[in-house]
């Protein structure tokens, strides 16, 4: 294309070459109805010849004061978040809402810890607002995002962020329902595989003290729900064996199951606090020659697409819907509106990986 003689074409250079005002050229792109047909054609033609791709995006948004872009803040490395089908389904819902509204979507990793006055990704992202997805309590990036004073909605965690909209689940109630199901099936010795409870890498048993102080509200509430249900049946909290894995991966689920069963071979049910972990646990059971659910019950959480295909008993949450709602909350937020709080329904999906507790050998 006929670019390249001289400097980059701009609105100004096009206007000058046609002996028009820059306002008119701008109008051709922004308000074509204000410009006569003939002039429009002349301008577009000149632009084409000059290799002018239309108004510069940054300058435009600078002037207009908005970017038509929504930021999604992930706690984790992006590449990790994208390996978790639950996050991906959520994101897909956000994307639907964005597309309808003509918004672009920018993925912002919380990434490495902040330096005090260095400009981070979160500060640097050009967005009209944030969706903050599942971030630990007191995350510094969360603060940074909130400081920008843009309309934001928090998803899942932290469970109370001041002055922002929130959408998430009642995790305690949901796991209570799961526990009730397991108890009804005769399970008494239950193990839990959870993802990280703290921000630094740790894999191993999690004491009650540890999970009670977990910086991730979701995991904390899920375990709490389980414990409360057991307590209601007279099973003390320290009966619940919890194994923690930093990563949320299939491999972590397999490893978690082995760790649990090595420690307590008498467990009859393993509750994984995410489907990906559960799928890994299923593989672990296979490796040990245990048949599911006859020898061992395994459950998940989230109901990702693969869960139904492998027959996983799990707690369903409306992942895509959650993303759509988060997007909508952003779109409908208005100045001075009080923060909204939206609790989404969950349901227990009983499938093939859970069954009655085996009789004691």
């Amino acid at each position: 294309m006929g670019t390249s003689h001289g400097s980059k074409p701009t609105l100004t250079s096009i206007a000058r070459s046609l002996d028009l005002s820059i306002a008119t050229v701008s109008n051709v792109y922004n308000h074509p109805e204000r410009v006569s047909e003939g002039l429009q054609q002349r301008v577009l033609e000149a632009a084409r010849k000059a290799g002018y791709p239309g108004p510069d995006a940054v300058a435009r948004q600078f002037r207009r004061g908005k970017s038509d872009t929504l930021g999604v803040l992930f706690t984790d490395e992006l590449s990790f978040a994208l390996r978790d089908p639950a996050s991906v389904s959520f994101l897909s819902g956000v994307a639907s809402a964005c597309e309808e509204a003509g918004l672009n979507l920018i993925l912002v990793p919380a990434g490495p810890p902040l330096q005090t006055n260095r400009i981070s990704s979160v500060s640097n992202a050009i967005v009209d607002g944030f969706i903050i997805y599942s971030v630990p309590d007191d995350d510094p990036h969360l603060q940074t995002a909130l400081n920008r004073n843009l309309p934001s909605v928090v998803v899942d965690e932290p469970d109370s962020a001041p002055d922002t909209d929130w959408v998430g689940l009642d995790d305690q109630a949901a796991t209570f329902e799961l526990a009730a199901h397991l108890l009804a099936q005769g399970h008494r010795r239950i193990g839990v595989v959870t993802t990280r409870l703290g921000v630094s890498r740790y894999n191993g048993p999690a004491t009650e003290e540890r999970w009670l102080r977990a910086r991730y509200a979701v995991q904390r509430n899920r375990i709490l729900g389980l414990v409360n249900a057991l307590a209601a049946s007279g099973i003390p909290a320290d009966e619940l064996v919890v194994e923690e894995r930093f990563d949320n991966s299939v491999e972590a689920g397999t490893a978690g199951l082995h760790a649990l069963l090595d420690r307590r071979p008498d467990l009859t049910a393993i509750c994984c606090l995410g489907d990906v972990l559960a799928i890994g646990a299923l593989e672990g059971a296979r490796q040990r020659g245990l048949s599911v659910p006859d020898d061992l019950t395994i459950t998940g959480y989230d109901d990702v697409p693969e869960a139904s295909r492998v027959g996983l008993t799990t707690i369903r949450q409306p992942l895509i819907e959650k993303g759509k709602i988060a997007g909508q909350m952003f779109l409908t937020r208005e100045q001075g509106m009080p923060p909204r709080r939206r609790v989404l329904p969950t349901s227990l999906e009983v499938r093939r990986t859970s069954g009655p507790a085996p009789l004691q050998g």
Copy 2:
């Protein structure tokens, strides 16, 4: 936070309140080493009090001329792309590369057709360059992106875009290998389930004429590879039965398998041109009471994570790696460099869903 008396704080307002130049305040954020410790503290303190979140992102990037943001252009609705684990793995690789380089990632849907001089998402996105992911030949959004004269890399399709880097596979060679495997196992009557060959919604049989003209290079080349291999064994092209589905989903795979088998119950192998379709086809076989691979061989393409878990015979491509390479190509592109072309290796993964052709009944 103590905002809200008067207008939004800016670099200028902070500078004025401290009786400093704006350059100094800017330096506190951008070049702290140029400012004395004491002054830094004073400025940061004043900023905190005023609720100033640091230099405005748009203004900053406007001035600097770069946005530290990479755009990924998807052909499809974003929400669809995110439902395809192959795209997601790819994206995850791109994200890795971006994170290392401190880039943000913006997801740009090609979305609805362009109006001539209206500003589209692609024009409006604030990015330093594009990764163009699997877009049909002659896509107008591709043109728009390329017109911006930003460093861009095309992934998979179209297979020849002028003046841009490209990364993808040798799809013909890859499917040739697959066909050779099937032929060796005695398969002669082979069906194909492909995703869309054109841009408008169509589900049904695809004639040779149709797939030869497919606007999606990937599908075209995969089918061509199959046909060539069959031809080499004396099986004419029109022996290959191709069923097309617009969506790339599990459901489409199931429907595709049924359509194929309703039409030609004597098929012994079904090649799905994507793993998600193959997973759906597996379900279809189950519904028909066919045992895989004894009654029917089913194969996929891509080797997404779930493929190995269900034992799917498939062609493996390095999805995450592909994303990383695309990101790296963008990062390492330099002015005046000739376009680079990177062909990634594929390999046939023989697993449990393929086997010898059943003897004729």
